[in-house]
């Protein structure tokens, strides 16, 4: 591990000012420390934000809820408001990592966790994300866990977060605070860049900007929400594919559907066309298959990730069958309550 300075920030402006060349924020540290030990990330300065005041609450905000960036994954998943009104978020969080890791992991850190592409992790191999301009070893390499949507010639790394997939289905925003104390709110599609030819640039955060909160819009009344994660073992593994769904029905037709996908995208994936295709339709298997085909229209899988096409299609069908009432709900599918 490279030597580094450790700074404990007492205030947001402290933290912002200490940022810049070679500095990294640290929250739970469950991702950053692993990467530092392997010298995949080697910051000169680590700024501990865990003592910052006011970032650890889940509180009502406008019609929805504001989640402080330091709220732990465990606390967020267990929050009564979240469980009742945004159950897909709870389901997604508890489908990730382990109990111990979720106790340490923060909301902000979870959003900004780095990819699990094995070539990003292996400093003996070329990787444009880790070492810009060196090339992408995943081309012609092992590629089972790679993304199939949003990829570029320079990078196919999948975004690993489960929580962020649920947040996309919930159309959440992040609150970003800059060095001079100004805040802005952006959607996750704006927060995350596509890799293009600069896969090392993962977000649109400017220097000195810190994620201070995640903002959930008003709960979708009467919705059924579902998180379906498929992985190589029953627990403690990253998604091969995952589907987050927030669905409302109008009689026996789908009124609204908001779907997001994990394991398949370079960022937590959402496709408005897929949602639009489902709107107003009578749910059946053929419709769901059509939605999946729409999702996959632009997919460019590495040969070893080709299976993600049929798998995400089948996972989508399984999730929507339950969310639309075609099949009885099992663990992972919940009806939202009207109040906490």
């Amino acid at each position: 591990m490279k030597s580094f300075d450790y700074i404990r920030a007492e205030s947001l402006s402290d933290a912002s000012k200490a940022m810049g060349d070679g500095a990294q924020l640290i929250a739970g540290g469950t991702n950053l420390l692993d990467l530092m030990k392997l010298q995949i990330m080697s910051p000169d300065r680590v700024i501990d934000i865990t003592r910052l005041p006011g970032l650890s609450d889940v509180a009502p905000y406008k019609d929805g809820v504001k989640i402080g960036a330091l709220v732990s994954n465990s606390d967020l998943a267990a929050d009564p408001k979240i469980k009742a009104l945004y159950p897909v978020l709870t389901r997604a969080i508890v489908a990730g990592a382990s109990g111990q890791i979720r106790n340490k992991a923060s909301t902000g850190g979870n959003l900004l966790q780095r990819t699990r592409c094995p070539y990003f992790y292996d400093t003996s191999m070329a990787c444009n994300k880790r070492a810009p301009g060196t090339g992408c070893s995943a081309h012609g390499g092992a590629g089972r866990m790679l993304a199939i949507l949003g990829t570029s010639d320079d990078c196919m790394a999948a975004h690993p977060s489960d929580m962020a997939v649920a947040l996309r289905a919930l159309e959440a925003h992040v609150e970003i605070t800059s060095a001079n104390g100004e805040t802005r709110e952006v959607g996750l599609d704006t927060l995350y860049r596509l890799p293009g030819d600069r896969p090392d640039l993962e977000t649109t955060l400017a220097e000195g900007e810190i994620i201070t909160a995640v903002i959930l819009p008003a709960p979708v009344k009467g919705s059924v929400q579902s998180y379906r994660k498929v992985r190589d073992r029953a627990s403690y593994a990253f998604a091969l594919v995952s589907v987050a769904a927030v669905v409302t029905m109008d009689g026996d037709k789908i009124d609204t559907a908001s779907l997001a996908f994990g394991g398949v995208g370079v960022r937590p994936w959402k496709d408005a066309q897929v949602d639009a295709l489902l709107h107003g339709q009578t749910p059946d298997q053929a419709l769901f298959a059509k939605a999946a085909d729409r999702l996959l229209a632009q997919a460019k899988p590495h040969p070893e990730a080709e299976f993600k096409r049929p798998l995400v299609k089948r996972a989508l069908i399984a999730a929507l069958r339950e969310a639309t009432g075609l099949a009885p709900a099992t663990a992972g599918t919940d009806k939202t309550r009207d109040a906490v």
Partner: protein, 733 residues
Amino acid sequence: MTDTFKMDEAQPRLLDETRQGVIGTPMDRPEGKLKVSGRAPYAAEIALDGMVHGVLVRATITRGQITAIDETSIHDTPGLLGVFHGEHFVRNPAQGMAAESPEQPGTRIDYHGQPIALVVAKTFEAARDGAHKLKISYKPDDSVDVDPQTASNVVSKDDDAVIIGDVDSAMARADASVDLQFTTPGQVAAAMEPHAAIAQWQGDQLLLHGSLQMLRFNKRELADAVGIDPENVRILSPYIGGGFGSKLGIGAEAVSAALASRALGCPVRVVMARQTVFDAVLRRTETSQRVRFAATKEGKLTAIAHDDTVSNLSDEGFAEPVSTASQFLYGAENMHFLQKVAQIHRTPAGSVRAPGEAVGMLAFEAGLDELAEKLDICPVQLRLNNLPERHPATDQAFSARALAQALREGAQQFGWSERQPTASRREGDWYIGMGMASAARSNMLVPSAARVTLEADRIVVETDMTDIGTGSYAILGQIAAEMLGLPTEKVVVRLGDTDLPGASGSGGSFGASSAGSAVYLAAKKLREELAHSLGCAAEELTLQDGMARGANHEKSFAELLPNPIMAEGAIEGGKTADEYFSAGFGAHFCEVAVHAWTGETRVRRMLGVFGMGRVLNEKTARSQAVGGMIWGVGAALTEELSHDPRTGHIVSRDLANYHVPAHADIPRQMDVVFLEERDDQANPMQTKGIGELGISGAGAAVVNAIHNACGVRIYDFPATPDKVIAGLEALGR
């Protein structure tokens, strides 16, 4: 020297006569509390004055030469003490029982990930930074095979082939036959404790705190690697956080620590990072296997063939004995077993828990299931129909073989008769199915010695045997307590020190029987001495709770033993091993649920019924059996090394990417039944190996259950969701 007992004939079942009543009981492991409270020091946890830290550097080319190691590239590393490499450096761990140094290739690189240097600094963090930054120049050799499927050098082991009759013509004539191709991926032991060593020199004496399974051999391996007399080496390895074969032989951590410590004159600690354990410790080979069965329509096998290809570096002698159990489980007039070894440049292969059976039986027992389906015969019945009278390849008699009983009892206890036709049982979106497979693992006896001292109120057992988490401390104490008539709390067991009498070490499931027999024989001598002092014949003697009785005499140990008495016992295999074939046998039964949409498999319950000779400790034996079955689940469903197709190096090189089963993968209902059995030909205690029988065949029961559930056959292990849905789609499901 002690006289060595040779196992030339069956011995009286003394442990059925003794009175202390502790043998076989589910005694807790005496060191268990130390382990769960962090007070059992593992190799890396010994704190020595002036100790410094070394971190291994790996090769980042697959094949070629090192042309320069530029030490100046890290001269600014704080507290840097040196960079060590050169002729003594070892390429990989020694294979089990090598008793000599593993390959020392000098500047030659044979695989990507090979340990080539050690950076030593005052702090671990600085050493790790130095190891990361050290600049190495190479002259790569671009002609390199890394894939066994396309390797140009494939050696056919014709001399070891077993060929009986004519399989091809039997296949052509048969009422039913299957000819199937399977692959299994490379696997790793993934012991919880990474490989670690602390070396310390006093003059020309080397003391190594290591994490090693076979000290008697390791001492000679280390001495040979470092270039000193074995008499000058002492290894301590009292606690080991799992081995599973990965710590059979001395490896780069121990040798490099010894070299650096000698040069620096202070203790050096080397702990492998988890990624280094993947890169530089022997893996289990990937395999491709062809399984053929032919049978009459009544379900009598007429041909059995199991041919395989494994891989290794060209100069590593080890080849996973894939078809071992296939050669003796069932009989047929025509048999064919031929192995090929692809010579490739990947992390070399060696023994991982149940080498051979662990992967061979996946394919073999899955193939038999497919034959049963073709014949429309119950898979249990098909197996019962074909049990051979004698070992088909060697013509030895079987010693104790509980296979038929295990199959019958297992089927009955599991509720096998409830099994439904393929893909006919559904619960919501889940297909439910049952599968079964036989279990078999050959049994061995390895030379072992032990010393036992009896005092009035205490027994001391001493041997260089190791406890890799399996329960050696417990069972050796139980044997001594039972034989000498004291409660187990009165026994002190000292293990893991090369200064003590040399035992088999832990490997091949032979540790308990081999080291245990040595303890038994030493204790038996002490019983003879006690009988003599008491004035009775040894056969008349009973010992219990510190009292000796016989021929109308009764005396306490305090009266009989003014001074402690001591004896050494030693054993080696003899004639029984020529005349009889000894193996553990059993049967696995499994129920799974397979998700109709996503292809996820969940094991719902499992039952293993085993005949493994006398059980020395019901609890540690059960843990071994259940642990083995869990490994079977891993092999069937989750565990897979993936290799880069260009460099051959292991891509899934940490425990987030190499998936051993998590708790959620293992059902609460993992039942184990031990059949009452004594193997008189195995050793004087009538025990057999336990540690590897549970894995052998278990994974096949899982995939056979997948087939019964949803109709999908898995030929390419493990059965991850992508493969199951491919099968479902092929069936139009």
